[in-house]
Symmetry: C2
Subunit: 324 residues, 2 copies
């Protein structure tokens, strides 16, 4: 008998599929198709009840997140979304009110970012399964890929890191926190905000050399950037932007850094930028968290340097065990 999927793991499976399907299959947050005057970008994401939606999520939360995860990939290319389609596998015993909630959440998220759910498919399935596919368009000279990072560039991120990790500790581990803090953290986890406007603005600057989203965690994201751009990263622990509510929740500095680097689930944009961009990029809020170096993925924690080893969770090996 040959190898099985769970012995190979998600990354191994994707590599093997990419070998068969060709080079376009791998690489960026979206596939890029020539559309004549501009590029069409397209991304597809599969989410499941047991692995992606904590049971505390409402139908509306699930619908919102399902669309947000794909829109975030469109944002990562510097593109503006032009449409979303959604396939839903629904268990027969699901309440109709819950399904309607999912549809409302999808609609609200799409509209909040200037687009629409234009089509879909439904089918019976033992486990709630949602696959969203988002389309976007971007000028050919503005598209941002993962492959453009250059040694000497700054590493930057929008918004905050570690919010879903903190929310997870509240929800799943029962970690204590003030009610207001819990609300902020859980809302950040359940209602992620894809950075469409930020992505479109950043796309205008040639100083922005590479971009992706951090939905699989900062650690895995810089690993992907380093693979695509053939560079390394030096991340400054002191600069990682973490919400006060999440900072207060962390037991110690080790856990705080783990939350910010290894968990994922937030849809911020991670990008590299020539230092000359510092004086130019004024219309997007971001934090410089490190810089591009020739090799290695290294965390500088107040002078102590150590390798960044977390690569985000791999669904097929571990993800099933992490959520419930």
């Amino acid at each position: 008998m040959g190898l099985k999927a769970n012995e190979v793991g998600e990354i191994g499976i994707i590599r093997r599929i990419a070998q068969i399907l060709g080079s376009k299959y791998l690489g960026d947050d979206c596939a890029v198709l020539d559309n004549g005057v501009d590029y069409l970008v397209v991304t597809t994401d599969m989410l499941h009840r047991t692995t992606d939606f904590p049971r505390e999520m409402s139908g509306e939360d699930i619908g919102w997140m399902s669309v947000a995860v794909s829109l975030s990939d469109v944002a990562a290319m510097g593109a503006r979304p032009t449409g979303v389609v959604a396939a839903m596998g629904i268990p027969g015993e699901t309440e109709m009110s819950f399904i309607e909630g999912i549809a409302r959440g999808m609609r609200d998220c799409a509209r909040a970012y200037g687009t629409e759910v234009v089509g879909g498919d439904t089918d019976q399935h033992a486990e709630l399964t949602i696959v969203t596919t988002a389309l976007g368009r971007v000028d050919k000279d503005k598209v941002k890929l993962r492959s453009g990072a250059k040694v000497g560039d700054l590493l930057c991120v929008t918004g905050y890191l570690g919010t879903p990790a903190a929310a997870y500790k509240v929800l799943i581990e029962g970690r204590e926190a003030p009610e207001e803090d819990k609300k902020v953290l859980i809302d950040g986890f359940f209602r992620p905000k894809p950075r469409i406007e930020e992505g479109v603005r950043l796309s205008k600057y040639p100083e922005v050399t590479a971009m992706m989203d951090v939905s699989d965690g900062l650690g895995k994201s810089i690993f992907e950037l380093s693979s695509s751009s053939h560079v390394g990263f030096l991340v400054d622990a002191d600069r990682l932007p973490v919400r006060e509510e999440a900072k207060k929740l962390a037991k110690d500095r080790g856990e705080l850094l783990d939350m910010a680097i290894c968990f994922g689930g937030e849809f911020e944009l991670l990008f590299t930028m020539s230092p000359t961009g510092l004086d130019k990029v004024k219309d997007v809020e971001y934090t410089v968290i490190g810089r591009v170096v020739p090799e290695g993925l290294t965390l500088d924690d107040s002078g102590a340097r150590r390798p960044i080893t977390c690569r985000g969770y791999e669904h097929l090996r571990k993800k099933r065990d992490t959520m419930h």
Copy 2:
């Protein structure tokens, strides 16, 4: 407690979702997006191991069918495919050689119709689940919708009807047939051929007034055309094109008509055409099977008329019971 999904049924669920998501959600085989110089069409289809892939299918067959089902929707719009993305939920105990077979089948089907699988997502799932999304482009003045059928038009179909139904009887019911016949029928079922070239050719003719594919069966398809175009259909039973191998397999005329009208699973194009098209459309093989009438879905069986009641299987209510 409110209504549950299996009490409402697939059509009811889709209607409710469409009410929430807006009018674009329903209607044609693909959603149609303005792409400047032309239209972009997009379709998404969810398939599952237990309901859509008989266990006799190889990985290659499954991959081929998964891409073919979406390309058929692109063909139905008169569009040429420009890319496919595929999300796969894979059980952990799946053999890697089987997964590789799926990828090869996807690649081969996409290439056979001039396109590529350009991206995807993989995830762990209890049941093999594949969601393909296909994109295509079509000139604005050539797109074919379901809504253009006019009283007096001819009803036409490419290729044959009833092949998957006959293959199903061989595979699942153990119906006896010569080995050569079995091979033809099963190949027709497992390796459907989306009618891309035929769709593109038909799109050039203004005489072709409405088009869709018959993947859910002829009965359901004319129901959909009648709803969109506000017309009825009179179908001539003697004209239904059925392969000799399938005809020989049918126990009696009733079963033969049921196979041709009610089963589905084949990816032929169903279209309506002004009678003036008969002398013009010479570059596509098709059969005239009836005509557009003011109302009603009626089968004329050698002069005996009866209503066509089958609407194809509804996944959430019945499909699970029909395949295994």
